[in-house]
Symmetry: C2
Amino acid sequence: MFEDKNQGRTPISQLGEFGLIDHLTKHIEIKHTSTIHGIGDDAAVIAPEEGMQQVVTTDMLVEGVHFDLGYMPLKHLGYKAVMVNLSDVYAMNATAKQITVSMAVSNRFPVEALEELYNGIQTAARLYNVDIIGGDTTSSTSGLVISITALGEVGKDEVTYRSGAQENDLLVVTGDLGAAYLGLQVLEREKQVFQANPNAQPELDNYTYLVERQLKPEARKDIPKLLKELEVVPTAMIDISDGLSSEVIHICKNSKVGCNLYEDKIPLDPQVISTCEEFELDSTTIALSGGEDYELLFTVKMEDFPKIKANPNLTVIGHITNEKEGMHLVTRANTKIPLVARGWNALTEEDS
Amino acid sequence: MFEDKNQGRTPISQLGEFGLIDHLTKHIEIKHTSTIHGIGDDAAVIAPEEGMQQVVTTDMLVEGVHFDLGYMPLKHLGYKAVMVNLSDVYAMNATAKQITVSMAVSNRFPVEALEELYNGIQTAARLYNVDIIGGDTTSSTSGLVISITALGEVGKDEVTYRSGAQENDLLVVTGDLGAAYLGLQVLEREKQVFQANPNAQPELDNYTYLVERQLKPEARKDIPKLLKELEVVPTAMIDISDGLSSEVIHICKNSKVGCNLYEDKIPLDPQVISTCEEFELDSTTIALSGGEDYELLFTVKMEDFPKIKANPNLTVIGHITNEKEGMHLVTRANTKIPLVARGWNALTEEDS
C-alpha cells in the first residue's frame, strides 16, 4: 500500500517543459459557457455572468509540510489540492467555476507520476464541475509544490464573509468533525509499522472513514446550493481547515462578537469516538483542533432556524453573543471555558 | 553586493503562520473599485466591470531554477515575480487589476527577508496599479517558491490571442531584445569572480542596462494603452519570456501561418551589441533565444502600419506568410534559414 507501484518511468526531460504541459493538459475540456478560453495562451479568458461577483482564492501545498507521499497517493493528492481551494469558494457561498494549477516538480518524478497527480486534479474538476483554465509546470530542486487558484461566482446579495455574524445568530456546522485528523494519526502509525517491518500489512479496516476523510476530503459543494434552496443567506461563513475552535474565533473576531459553543452538540462520527478511545484522545479536543475536515461553519439569523433544523447535513452547535461576553466552550458538565485556537499551523509546527 | 546584509533576524516561528501573513499584508491597500474585498476572508471578491472579459494567468518561480538568491536581491525577486505575471495579462491586450501571491518559505529566511520580498511585490503592485487581493504563505522544507496569479480586464472586442495572425500581417516587437539574458551572463560571471575572491568588487558599470533588465524587468503596461490610443487591435499577441524565435513560432503555430523575420530589423540596445562582442556571442542568437525580456510581440493588419510606424516603442521585424511557406529568419546576407525554438526551458535545461 505504501509503495509507488508505478511501472512506467518516462523521465520528464524526454518531453521537456512545453511537451509535459501539453501531455498533461491535452484531455482537458471546457464546460462552462463563462470560460471563453482555457489553457494555451498567455492567459485564460472568462466572461463572468452579468451582475455576479467573482471570488478568487489560492492555496499552496508543499511536500513534507502539507503531505507525505509515503502514504498519500499522487492521485489523491491532486484531488485534495483542488478540494482545499474549492472549499474556500463554497465558504463564500459561491459556485466554483474555474481553477488554475501550478506545480513545481523534481526530476525524481517520472511522467507517469505526474499523470497520476493530474488525473486526481482532473477527476476533482470533473466531479465538482470546474474548468481547468491554466497553470504552470516547472522543475523544482527538491520537493513537490502545488499551487491552485480557484474562481467562483456569487450573487452580490448572497456573498458571505466571515464578518457578518450578529448577536443571537445560531452557529451551524456541516457534516462531522475530527475524522481527517484522526485519519492522519492512523496513517502515521501504520507508516511506522511498515517502516519497522516492510512485510506488515496495514490494518485500516476499522478506520476506513477516517482515512478517507484524510486522503480524499470532499469540499461542501452541496451547501451553497442547499442554502439557496432553503432560502437562507448565512450572516457569516468560513471553511474548517484549521480546526473548529480556530474558525469560530475567526468568525467572532471578524464579526466583533462573542459566542457560546456547546460541547455536546459537536457532531462526531462513531469511528471518531471509538478511535479517540483507542488512541486515548479527547474527542472534543480533536474536533476543536484537528483541522482538514473541510466542512463549513456558518451563522444564521435565529428566525432561519425552522428552515435548517430538520436537515441532517446541518447541526446547530452554539450561538453568537455580545463581544464582551467572550468566546466560550460550554462543556458537558456545563462549565464555560474560553475557546483557544490551537489549529494546525504549518509554520509553527516545524519548531514544536 | 552579493551578500545579504540584513541585520534583523526575527525567526518566522516567532510570528506563526497567521501572524506572518498579517504582518506582511497589513499595509496593503485596495485601489480598484472592482475589488470588493481583498485579503482576510476565505476568498477575495471582485466585481468585474459589466461587459468586460476577465483574463487569468499564473506563474511560479522556484529557487535554484528561476532565480539565484546569490545575486537576486529579495526585493527585486518580488518585483520580478509580479512582472512575469503582468506581462501575460498585457499580452492579452488587457489591463491588469488584481494579483494573489502564494509563497513557500523555509525557516532559514528571517521575517526581515520576507519583508524585503513583500516590499518588492507591493512596489510592483503600486507602480502597476494592481491590488494584492489574496495569497497563502506557508513553510517549505527547502527553497523559496513564489506563485502569483494575475487577473485583468479587457473588452471582448479587444482581447488578443496568439491565434489570430493572418497572411500579410506585420510582425511587431516592443522595446529591444536580448539584454535580460546577457545581464544574467554578466551576473553569473561576477558571481564566479566573487566566489573565487570574496573581496573582489563586481564590475558592472558597462552593463547597467543589461543587469537592470535581468534583475528588474518591467512589463509593458503601456502597450495595451498605446494600442488603444492608436486605435489598433493586434490580430495576435504574446509576451517574450522564452526568446523571440520561440514566441514567433507560438504565434505562427497557433495561427496556422508562416512568417519571414528579418535579422537586420531586430531591435538591439548598443550595450547588447558591445557585450555580445566582448563575450563572443552572436547578438541575433541572443535576441532569438535569450528570453526574459518581457517585451510584447504582436501582429497587425498591413493597413494599420501608418498608425504604428512612427512610434519609437514599436519595431516592425517581419511579416506573416502562408503556412506552407514555413517560418524563416531572413539573414543580413539575405539567406532564409528555418526558425527553431531554442528558448530557455527550465525542465530540459537540467539535463543539458
